[in-house]
Symmetry: C2
DNA sequence: CTGAAATAGTTAATGTATTAACTATATACA
DNA sequence: TGTATATAGTTAATACATTAACTATTTCAG
């Protein structure tokens, strides 16, 4: 059992279980969800963004994005605009109303981020982040099945 | 935007997105899901385990566990047994059939765990894990809202 | 130019996740 | 001894996640 409790998925899930509640507290007040927030964060950054780009930047599956956008649209927070140059593409834009929401909620989220970072030293934070990024990178590239060079390099 | 991409939830989610696919590949072959696997891992360890204990050990919400057990029961992998001493409690036990599944799948999962750990040095791994555990601990205890000592100690 | 293959978005089916409410039983205390 | 309260499990409602399939375009090779 121990080896399962120490597995990377469980370690990461435990961390997420501790990290998300402060965010949820805020989202509940504004009747938002975490995935909805992820979408909004990207949409707020600028101009028209294609659904397909939202997927990669929010880590949400295209099939999930459809429903999330549906709900955000119903709330009047985003709009869908079919592209004329590539009629397959749909652009998502933020509404004026969603901008007001941004003004109100963003500072609260920023405060949480700041608080999280202050929990450990900057060194610890960076080191943790680098290790996680390294693992992700190696899993996504070198090793479809057995990642030969990676194991050789990192043998302790 | 950058500060959101660097937020702890996104960092953790990116890591999970890279870590889970190898597991899913196996689960697909055996028509299991990751939450179902989490339950089975605990049930396999031993004797009769109460639903409420499954929740804490698997990080799954009690409300979710109901449905997961329903499906595992339908597949003949676990059984529910109402406790006689405390008639509120339900014990979950593994069936003989699920033991056969365990024999077959466990080694494959173990191989993945091993592969994951080999991606980075033991030092990096331990350090990352400790930092995540520390963050979880501080979030769950010291700070219902403002965690005074923690900030003071870790100011860079 | 045309048909195969790729791309963007969507739908459908099934399985969680989250919150709230509700039942049944157990425990604690006035 | 009741009675408030806590606990174990469940249900219901809504929102996502995942996989597969399907439509509408677009791209690209022959």
């Amino acid at each position: 059992m121990e080896e399962f409790d120490q597995s990377l998925p469980m370690i990461l899930n435990r961390a997420l279980d501790s990290v998300l509640p402060p965010y949820r507290e805020i989202f509940l007040r504004y009747e938002l969800t975490e995935p909805q927030w992820r979408i909004l964060r990207v949409v707020w950054t600028g101009e028209k963004i294609k659904s397909v780009d939202l997927a990669s930047r929010t880590l949400l599956a295209p099939a999930s994005i459809v429903g999330i956008i549906d709900r955000l649209e119903k709330k009047g927070l985003v709009s869908r605009v079919r592209s004329t140059s590539d009629r397959r593409a749909v652009y998502i834009t933020a509404t004026a109303e969603s901008r007001k929401l941004q003004e109100e909620v963003s500072p609260q989220i920023a405060a949480i981020q700041k608080r999280m970072k202050s929990l450990v030293s900057e060194d610890d934070w960076d080191h943790m982040e680098q290790t996680l990024v390294k693992i992700s990178y190696l899993l996504n590239n070198d090793l479809p099945a057995d990642m030969p060079e990676a194991t050789a390099e990192n043998r302790q």
